[in-house]
Amino acid sequence: MRLLYFAWVREKVGRGTEEVALPPDIATIGELIAWLKTRGPEFANAFARHEVIRAAIDQSHVRHDAVIGNAREIAFFPPVTGG
């Protein structure tokens, strides 16, 4: 699965995109975030305030309780600030 990171999430994680094989017991975005935090200090730092992190599954906004299912790409980013 493809993971993407934007803005300060990208800076803290140290990469914009990566391919990962998710452990089979991860069902939701919230569980994915909890797992990402165990992958190293840069992830623990980026996702420390996990409640402010926004997520998208296949380029649509979702909440943390959203089920990942057969997603091709999942993105994590701070609240948007365009306009």
Binding site: L4, F6, A7, W8, A56, Q59, S60, H61, A75, F77, P78, P79, V80, T81, G82, G83
Partner: protein, 153 residues
């Protein structure tokens, strides 16, 4: 219609294109967002976005506005990349037969764009780089549109 681009836009030219050859339009509203220097503290701004999702979200917002109001035309242009104070960031144009629909739809488009479209601003100034934080006011602005039917319809 929506566009995401690095280059600047010409508001007059966009309005002219939008109404070219049409005689049914009675009201045109345009909103332009620009980069502020915030009392000299900002030297430049980087606009990051999520290619693909940005276009999809803008198209959804544009579609929603056209479903809610009787618009004859609508346009969203958003810039990306490096911008400096004084530069244009975003353009919204709406056209309708009567002014209420165009006024309301323009505001709706901006309010939704601010909270839904995946753009992020990073400002650079004397004190270094700083990611702009989302404003609670932007979320509050959405609340006024949550009713499916609007008085202007």
């Amino acid at each position: 219609m929506i566009r995401v681009q690095q280059e600047d836009f010409d508001i007059g030219a966009e309005i002219a294109r939008l109404k070219s050859g049409r005689t049914d339009i009675g009201a045109i509203i345009s909103f332009t967002g620009t980069v502020r220097d915030q009392m000299g503290t900002i030297d430049e701004m980087m606009l990051e976005h999520y290619p693909g999702m940005t276009e999809a979200e803008l198209a959804k917002i544009d579609e929603e506005a056209n479903a809610r109001w009787p618009l004859q035309a609508s346009l969203i242009v958003h810039r990306i990349g490096r911008l400096v104070p004084g530069d244009n960031i975003v353009l919204v144009i709406t056209a309708s037969e009567h002014r209420d629909a165009a006024f309301d739809a323009a505001r709706f488009l901006m309010d939704y764009l601010k909270t839904r479209a995946p753009f992020w601003k990073r400002e650079t100034g004397k004190s270094g780089n700083r990611w702009v934080e989302a404003s609670a006011g932007d979320d509050a602005a959405i609340a006024r549109w949550t009713k499916p039917k609007h008085a202007a319809e």
